[in-house]
Symmetry: C2
Subunit: 200 residues, 2 copies
């Protein structure tokens, strides 16, 4: 009741972006410093100095807030340069970067286990897995000069392979005890695109 009364004055007002940014910043800090499990709405509320009801008016759940904090809803396709290898590398770099921050490192595995426990909780994950980057990737390949790339390519399956390879590199390779050489992801993807389909 106290929370409801305290938060009433804010209702109907235009959304205050500063509160959004404060809450997101507190979430990022907590993830990086304390890890996924400790990044609760209560802890975020305390650190941000924003009451929990005000947080819940902005994000429907802890999962949604953490998703917003570590991966922007709008991931834009990289610019097309005309060099296919460079262009595909830009997609690889986009995902490498998305998973690079300490907050994202902490959040990613926690979110995955959340989705598994509660499949309904992944309302916005599809955005973070390239749903709004797929059109750009498709266009990139479609824009290649005729005959450059094999014409029976499933671009969605190819982007899945690219993202999966980045996830391995970010989240699993560090635990294998092997040194990580330069990534071969873009090279492999581009080679597969420009293969003579004969041998298959």
């Amino acid at each position: 009741m106290i929370n409801t009364i305290r938060s009433t004055p804010e209702r109907g007002r235009p959304r205050d972006d500063r509160i959004d940014r404060t809450v997101i910043a507190a979430t990022v800090e907590l993830l990086a410093e304390e890890g996924y499990a400790a990044t609760t709405i209560r802890a975020i509320s305390r650190r941000a100095g924003v009451p929990a009801p005000a947080i819940y008016r902005r994000w429907t759940s802890r999962v949604e807030l953490i998703e917003s904090a570590v991966a922007p809803a709008e991931v834009h396709s990289p610019e097309v340069t005309g060099n296919l290898l460079a262009d595909v590398q830009a997609y690889v770099d986009t995902y490498l970067q998305m998973y690079a921050s300490p907050a994202a490192q902490a959040a990613f595995i926690g979110l995955l286990s959340e989705y598994q426990r509660n499949p309904g909780s992944n309302r916005s994950v599809s955005l973070r897995l390239g749903q709004n980057i797929r059109a750009g990737f498709r266009e990139l390949l479609a824009a290649q000069p005729p005959g450059t790339i094999t014409d029976d390519v499933d671009t969605d399956a190819l982007l899945d392979i690219l993202i999966g390879a980045v996830i391995f590199r970010r989240f699993l390779l560090p635990f294998t005890g092997r040194k990580s050489g330069p990534d071969e992801i873009a090279t492999t993807i581009v080679r597969s695109l420009t293969a003579n389909p004969g041998p298959i």
Copy 2:
């Protein structure tokens, strides 16, 4: 103390494989039915009817036991058939299958978050990520007729891409809301191997 006394008679005896199997079976059941968090040594001990000290004599930690339960330490390279696409597909299938059981599905994400929280806990993960399958993969590619595949291929990086792509397919694709078509992993890998390296 009671546990120590109870377990003393077993010391020095040849290891009883039935106990190993009973404990592993209980671990697999618990993972599938209750999930990763609930699969504690205490719960495994209760379900298996094996005292915790007897479990700790066989596995040094809960993590190591769960790893043993969901992924055999010895993953053997698939047989070579001579058809490169079929042979690479067999590697894809090996990993798809390793992550297919309800127990492995439950364990995988939990193990990843364990490794992240405690990087020292991943004593044997490298085995499960293909450390003992890599030689076979390398030999498979080396056995191809001269000129068939590009000669500057980093086979370890390629197997990482393959495993990452399988992980995406098993653990992330189900949450994207997209239908999963046939996997293009082996085709992509083989095409990248047989590409005319000219365009790169």
